[in-house]
C-alpha cells in the first residue's frame, strides 16, 4: 500500500501534471496515486511512483527489476523526454546501485589486434558526437495487443526521445583494431542474472552496422549524465533500432568471428519475418528473425480519449511522430475516423531519428461521437498500417492510433 509520504508526493505530481485520477483517488476527492491505462480486459490500474532514484513521477509496472512507464502527458510537453521521466526497463534484478567513475573501465576484446580497457577519461578524449534519437522498447504498447500476450503490460509510454552525446562505436573499435573475419560485435553490461546459470543479457550487431559511424557509446542524454536506471555511465545508442540493442551500463564489447548464438539474440527478441511482424495467433512454421529497425508511429498528445470537445469551435490538435529508421515525411490527421485526411503541420526537425511535433486544426460540425486519427509516413514512404499487427511476444505495434472523443 501507499505510505503517507508517497501519497502526498503523488498528489503533488498529479495536480501539477494533470494525471488521470484513479478510482481510489477519485473516491478520496484529491490525491492522484494511480493511473488507468487503456488495456483491453485489464488489469488497467497502475500506481504512480516517485520512489525510484533520479526519477520523477512514473507509472509503476514492476518494482524489481524495474519497469517504469512514462506517463503519456509528458509527450505533450516537447519532443525531448526529460531524463527523470524517461521510461526504464531491466531484464535481471542484479543491478549495481553504485558506480565509481574513476574505477570504471570499458573492455574491448575478442577478434581485435589490441584489447582495450578504456577509462572514462580515455572515452571523453575521443571525438564527440551528438544527435537526437528515439529509444523505444520492442514491447511498447504490448498491453494493447488482442488477444493479449504475457510480458510487461505497457501502454504507449515505453518510449522516449533524447539528445544523446558520446563517441562513435567505430572510433573505439578502430582503436582496438578489428581483425579480418570478424562477423558480429557483442555488448554486455554490468547487470547480472539473479540465478547464476541464467543467461546474462547481451546483444550483438553486425560488424558493418557497428562500424557505420552512427552507433554511439553515449555518456550523456539531454546534456546530463545518464540516470543510473537509464544506463549510467555508458549505454549503446543504436539510432533507428529497437531499444533492446541499446545496452545499458555497457562495460564489455566483444568482437566475434561468427554469429552470436546467445539466447537474447537467437531465441528472445525475435519477430515473424513478415510485413509489420504480423502473424495469426497459433500460426505454425512462421520464420523468425531478430527484431531490428523501428517502424513509424504517431500520437495525439493534447486530447485524451473519451474527452469532450465543443461543437462549432476550432480545435488545435497536436502530437508527436517518428519515422523509425528514417525521418518523418508526412503526418496526416483525420477527424472522422479515417474517411478524410488532412496534412498536419510539422514542427522543428531535430534530426531524422527524433520525435517530431505535428499540429492540425479542425472544427467539429455536429454533435455526436467522432474518432481522431493520426498517421505517420516516413521518408522511405512507409506508413502506419490501418490494422494492428499481432505476434506472440507483443512486439512492434504501430497501428494508426484512434482517439475517440465526444462532440457536445
Amino acid at each position: 500500500m501507499l505510505t503517507r509520504r508517497r501519497l502526498l508526493a503523488g498528489a503533488g505530481a498529479g495536480v501539477a501534471l494533470g494525471l488521470p485520477l484513479g478510482p481510489a483517488a477519485k473516491a478520496a476527492g484529491a490525491a492522484a496515486q494511480s493511473v488507468r491505462l487503456p488495456l483491453p480486459g485489464g488489469p488497467d490500474e497502475r500506481p504512480i511512483t516517485t520512489d525510484f532514484p533520479q526519477k520523477g513521477a512514473m507509472i509503476l509496472q514492476r518494482t524489481r527489476p524495474p519497469l517504469l512507464e512514462t506517463p503519456f502527458e509528458v509527450f505533450d510537453q516537447g519532443v525531448f523526454t526529460p531524463n527523470d521521466r524517461f521510461y526504464v526497463r531491466w531484464h535481471w534484478a542484479v543491478i549495481p546501485q553504485s558506480v565509481e567513475v574513476d574505477k570504471f573501465r570499458l573492455n574491448v576484446r575478442g577478434q581485435v589486434d589490441r584489447p582495450l580497457a578504456l577509462s572514462m577519461s580515455d572515452i571523453l578524449a575521443l571525438p564527440r558526437l551528438e544527435y537526437a534519437a528515439v529509444n523505444e522498447c520492442s514491447g511498447n504498447s504490448r498491453g494493447l495487443f488482442q488477444p493479449r500476450v504475457a510480458g510487461g503490460q505497457w501502454a504507449n509510454g515505453a518510449m522516449g526521445n533524447a539528445l544523446w552525446t558520446g563517441v562513435r562505436l567505430k572510433d573505439v573499435l578502430d582503436r582496438a583494431g578489428v581483425k579480418a573475419g570478424a562477423v558480429q560485435v557483442r555488448f554486455n553490461g554490468m547487470d547480472d542474472p539473479v540465478v547464476s546459470e541464467g543467461p546474462d543479457f547481451m546483444k550483438s550487431l553486425a560488424v558493418d552496422h557497428a562500424r557505420d559511424g552512427e552507433v554511439m557509446i553515449a555518456y550523456a542524454m539531454n546534456g546530463q549524465q545518464l540516470p543510473l536506471l537509464n544506463g549510467f555511465p555508458l549505454r549503446l545508442v543504436v539510432p533507428g533500432w529497437y531499444a533492446t540493442y541499446w545496452l545499458k551500463m555497457l562495460n564489455d564489447i566483444e568482437v566475434l568471428n561468427g554469429p552470436d548464438s546467445n539466447f537474447w539474440m537467437k531465441t528472445a527478441y525475435t519477430i515473424p519475418d513478415t510485413p509489420h511482424a504480423d502473424m495469426k495467433p497459433g500460426q505454425a512454421n512462421v520464420p523468425m528473425v531478430p527484431i531490428n529497425r523501428l517502424n513509424p508511429r504517431s500520437f495525439v498528445t493534447n486530447i485524451k480519449a473519451g474527452s469532450t470537445v465543443k461543437v462549432g469551435s476550432p480545435i488545435s490538435v497536436r502530437g508527436i511522430a517518428f519515422g523509425g529508421y528514417t525521418g518523418v515525411k508526412q503526418v496526416d490527421f483525420s477527424s472522422d475516423g479515417g474517411k478524410n485526411w488532412i496534412a498536419a503541420q510539422l514542427g522543428k526537425d531535430e534530426g531524422k531519428y527524433s520525435f517530431r511535433q505535428w499540429q492540425a486544426r479542425f472544427t467539429p460540425a455536429a454533435k455526436g461521437d467522432v474518432t481522431l486519427m493520426v498517421r505517420c509516413t516516413n521518408s522511405s514512404g512507409e506508413a502506419q498500417p490501418a490494422e494492428p499487427n499481432w505476434n506472440p511476444s507483443g512486439f512492434m505495434r504501430n497501428v494508426i492510433e484512434a482517439t475517440p472523443v465526444a462532440v457536445a
Partner: protein, 111 residues
C-alpha cells in the same frame, strides 16, 4: 540528419549546446553515483498455491510482474512456468510446478 560533431574535450564548466531540456545548459562532468533501489510493497492475493509462487517466483521479479498480467489460458501459464525453469534457470522443484500453474490460472485465468 543533423549532427553536431565536436573535437572539443570535455572540460568542467563547458556548457553543452542543446535544444533539449532546461538542464542541458549545466556543465557536464560525470559524477559517481550511489543510489538505493526501492523494495516492492505489493503483495500477491491469497489463494491455493500462493506459497509456492512466493517461494519460487519473486526472487527474480517482484509481485507486480504477476499482478499486471492479463487473464491468459492455463496452457499459457504452463508454458510461462516452463520458460522460467528451462530458459531463465529458475530453480523450481517439480513438485511446486502444479501449484504455481494452478495459482496463476486461478488468479490470471479466464473467468
Amino acid at each position: 540528419m543533423k549532427r553536431r560533431i565536436s573535437l572539443l574535450l570535455l572540460v568542467a564548466g563547458v556548457a553543452f549546446a542543446s535544444p533539449a531540456a532546461p538542464a542541458a545548459n549545466a556543465p557536464l562532468t560525470l559524477k559517481s553515483v550511489d543510489v538505493t533501489l526501492p523494495d516492492s510493497d505489493r503483495a500477491l492475493p491469497d489463494g491455493p498455491g500462493v506459497d509456492a509462487v512466493q517461494n519460487n517466483c519473486v526472487s527474480c521479479h517482484s509481485a507486480g510482474m504477476i499482478l499486471t498480467q492479463p487473464a491468459l489460458p492455463k496452457a499459457v501459464w504452463e508454458a510461462e512456468v516452463a520458460k522460467m525453469r528451462n530458459v531463465y534457470k529458475a530453480p523450481v522443484d517439480d513438485k511446486d510446478v502444479p501449484d504455481i500453474v494452478g495459482y496463476l490460472a486461478a488468479v490470471k485465468g479466464p473467468k
